[in-house]
Symmetry: C2
Subunit: 339 residues, 2 copies
């Protein structure tokens, strides 16, 4: 019997967790099905006239529009650039779709456009086409932004989540949960958390250096909506492996850990917007970490776990006290509208 | 002195008329400026790894979601496909960004996804990447859709608005104003206008046949938001020519003319979603019209005017009674949310 929840869209359908997966699996993917879409990667890989391209899109509905460390404009550039970068592509061109709400202050729009332009310069991309629509004032969203991105793939590189193999190591390029907790603290007015700052940044340069040091990276993923938990669930499912994390190795700032504790959130499920998960052969670990740490955005890079054969499809956490617990895919209720 | 209107976004900023142009010119383009964006075409022309590509984006905020002849899903595919087609490109791949409102009925979403899939098949494109976000229920928009598109340009073809030359003829592929009036009649509950049906359709096949017959088309534009008036103003300004239209030649269905009359609208400023303006040398007119009329979507194709040298930058209408009037660029207040 269908529950009422099956009949309408809920906020949790947008949380990046299990309910998002159900929505995509049952309602979005089936009518559109094709071999490229079926790859379910951060970007689609397409080839046109001999050119190997990565093509991706993201809409941004974050509230508030301005948060410590960034704004919706910077986020919209970095998020889409990073989806291309995770595909092993050189990001080149973006399109910009703006949906503005009647009553949006023009000086807020100007600040956001300026921030977008700066982030595009940082990321090395150009915005080459756009579209602007206006809708009636309603819940005070102010604006929604869509950016789509086009990049050129590095020949012979595949960073698909299915490439993880038992024996691989799992690295992360820096601290976890900074973006989600900065936005949430701003939104909820958690004044004591003034030190929380979003990590939103384009990873073009960091990953370019990584590829120079270790061309044979197996998997690259940015742990955005749904956090590290959702990203590694994708890996475990696609590659049919087990990902084992060490709780003591997880780099989490004390202030982020504190805010998560207060709100009952797990830093593993909180969004990051300037971090990458890197999975590579154990023999490449030292070179990969050295390359990451030599970049300003990778100073805190470290190993957080490894890939095992069994139990396939699971993500496990070795806890501080020596036990092991399942890292579950969040349902999606935790953190709405953080990207 | 700044008026209050300069300080906030108004609905008319989204109308596709003068106020939209001001917004783009003063607030959107300057921070993002680059040579490709400066072309201001329906799609950006970029070259990657030797492949000549067209890249475009559009967001769809139409209300109601379902209207006679289509829905937001069909519109979102056709609109973006047509922007690629107008660039002389073969449309290949789309991305899909959905912003769903909490409370949207799942069966409405399913109908829209199905309609999108059908339109994509008709247009010959695949949806290869996507993103889904959920926002709180507010004004009952239901959903917003962004589609971005990637196509391969035909070598040596340029259909830029600046290519119009004095002596050229101006053709249109069919009747004017069908989409805008169908949506408006549905929204305003104009029951007597039940015969109004949107023309929303992908122009891939129609334009492909046109290029086979006349490879040297000068300009292609789809007269969407802002209608024929806005599209030809772009031509007149970019090419520094005068476009002269014949009122008696404009193909407008009697029911569209009637509805426009009742609401005080000019069919020249009403949106179309399955029509193209074609500007070509006078010597190519007969072949172009024959090619268009041989396609199911081009049966009503006809010549509506010509390009003259002066007064440069103007669009003029030779009226039924032999006079001449200026076709002004609408301010943008007329028809909000029709795409």
């Amino acid at each position: 019997m269908a529950t009422p929840h099956d009949d309408v869209i809920l906020m949790s359908h947008g949380g990046g967790g299990r309910r998002t997966q159900q929505l995509l699996r049952d309602h979005i993917f089936p009518p559109l099905d094709n071999p490229i879409l079926r790859q379910l990667d951060d970007s689609a890989c397409v080839t046109i006239g001999g050119a190997e391209l990565a093509f991706t899109t993201d809409s941004y509905v974050i509230r508030p529009l301005f948060f410590p460390g960034g704004d919706i404009g910077r986020l919209a550039i970095c998020g889409t650039v990073n989806d291309l970068v995770m595909q092993g592509a050189r990001p080149l061109y973006l399109t910009l779709g703006l949906i503005l709400e009647e009553g949006l202050r023009m000086d807020d729009l100007d600040r956001i456009m300026q921030s977008m332009a700066e982030a595009a310069r940082e990321a090395g991309v150009q915005i080459v086409a756009g579209d602007t629509k206006v809708v009636e004032h309603s819940a005070g969203n102010g604006l929604f932004v869509n950016t789509s991105g086009l990049g050129q793939r590095r020949p012979g590189i595949s960073t698909h989540v299915a490439n993880a193999r038992p024996g691989d190591v799992v690295l992360v390029t820096g601290t976890l949960g900074d973006h989600g907790m900065a936005v949430l603290s701003q939104r909820e007015g958690l004044r004591f958390q003034t030190t929380l700052v979003s990590d939103v940044a384009p990873l073009t340069g960091l990953v370019s250096g990584l590829f120079k040091a270790v061309p044979g990276i197996h998997v690259l993923r940015d742990p955005t909506r749904g956090g590290v938990a959702a990203a590694l669930h994708d890996v475990a499912t696609a590659a049919q492996v087990c990902v084992k994390l060490d709780e003591t190795a997880l780099p989490v700032r004390p202030e982020v850990r504190g805010a998560c504790g207060l709100l009952g959130l797990d830093p593993l499920t909180v969004a990051n917007e300037g971090k990458a998960l890197v999975i590579c052969a154990a023999g490449d670990e030292a070179r990969a970490l050295a390359a990451l740490r030599s970049h300003p955005l990778g100073g805190d890079a470290c190993r957080i776990g490894e890939v095992c054969a069994a139990p396939a499809g699971r993500v496990l956490l070795r806890t501080r006290i020596g036990g092991e617990r399942l890292v579950e895919l969040p349902l999606g209720d935790d953190l709405p509208r953080i990207c």
